[in-house]
Symmetry: C2
Subunit: 305 residues, 2 copies
Amino acid sequence: MKPELYILGSNSATPTRDRHPTAQILRIGSSKIMIDCGEGTQNQLLKYGLRHTGITHICISHLHGDHYFGLIGLLSSMSLSGRKDTLYLIGPPALNEIINLQITHGAISLNFSIDFIATNPNQPSFVTQTNLFSIESFPLKHRIHCTGFLIKELPKELHINLEAIQFYKVPISLLNDLKKGADFITENGETIANHLLTTPAHSSYSYAFCSDTIYDPEIVPYIKNVDLLYHEATFMKNLEERAQLYYHSTAEQAGKIAQQANVKKLIIGHFSSRYDNLEMLLKEAQEVFENTVLALEGNMITIGE
Amino acid sequence: MKPELYILGSNSATPTRDRHPTAQILRIGSSKIMIDCGEGTQNQLLKYGLRHTGITHICISHLHGDHYFGLIGLLSSMSLSGRKDTLYLIGPPALNEIINLQITHGAISLNFSIDFIATNPNQPSFVTQTNLFSIESFPLKHRIHCTGFLIKELPKELHINLEAIQFYKVPISLLNDLKKGADFITENGETIANHLLTTPAHSSYSYAFCSDTIYDPEIVPYIKNVDLLYHEATFMKNLEERAQLYYHSTAEQAGKIAQQANVKKLIIGHFSSRYDNLEMLLKEAQEVFENTVLALEGNMITIGE
């Protein structure tokens, strides 16, 4: 199963009647990784029938409210619904302080542990890894401490060629080694190369999340060749000066970054509330990078398609 | 114009698909007083076409998330939309600490001042007053520092009887004094009693807000005879023990408090998510206190009707 990205919100700054602030769920196998969590994210989960059970990691890019004001409410609801599993919370150091202060004064006794991992705003950093994926962060140039995230599926196991293992009489106890790439040595000492015993593994896919940021080609090395790039596109290019002033990007600039990084697909979001018609932003990005889609809430993107 | 109470949310603990946590707007003349501000309140304002401009005071009863997690988002949006007017924020002392921490780490520069007034959880206290209304707080027995609020319109001005002032030749410069109740003394030194020159003022109405609280008849003196009482009714009476354990009330208990306090009308809310059908809660309260209504989001109650 390929990773799936669910868009829960993609508006900037303030919500509108039908657009919510940034929040996404990346589903990789049985794990869900939440990326940013603007106010009302738990309502958006309910609206789109996505359960918060199974969220193993929450990554917060920065402490502007439209990226994290929904977090404390989600954590409370997770606890009230009986969550026991440790949650990995990844974000700027002050996030931990804010959440703890709210927990203390609300006398909230969480039923689960939060394993907080502080992001480093100064250099690309390994964050954490499971048996399915790794998470790295990298600096984004915004008005405050802000990082992007690079989430990569780990290499998957090779598939066993059943006919071949019968032919070469490979013991079942060795199959796990074969899946990881080992050759097979017969009783006679003959080496049977792995590629004769297996078929290629499914591809592993990668996702990079860049919100919020000024147009900054320095991030290109961190996101090179990813299968899907989310890049903010707050404004259209006629407001490029405004974008620069507030450390945001235009749709055209998002397209440029996608092009320079040679990504497979671009998804743009963090739209200014001034735009009722988002198609204009899409067209602007597509003029530079054709394989672009809009981050529309309720939409799901399969990564690798 | 009589005061109007707008219900933006009345669910307890966690939101459901169609029910939001506690938030209300009390409109008195040109002022709007917000009472509690659960997550998503700014979206509820948008949904019901209520603008946040004109909110002069925000009262927060306590620091359980379903009563204040929407506050920081609303404050941010107020600032982004150019608010300049001072906002009076009323709540437990730690609320100020939490809001300031979020403002600091989000590098939010609010365009307006917040005048914070800490509530006293130990005794009934005068909070603040304008030329239209006064706000008092009183202790509620809940698991953490929690207060109710009593909001009273100030006595209104008497109406001038135009025929009478012509008859008695009252100078226009004295009309404001008459509206406040002064008698008129003629050039001959004769006293004309105020009631001959004016007709009665419109009534002044009062509203009391009690959420969250265990069943506690000690609050009755604070809310005696109010025109409208909001009282939480988290559970039905078959869960009275659970209500007591968590310092909440049943619908029947809300009715009892209304009866003991001789209020004109009762509105119940803070419904547990377990109840799909709220009519059962209404019936239970009405068996004790007939003039009861449900706090349903989107509804407006005119106080004094």
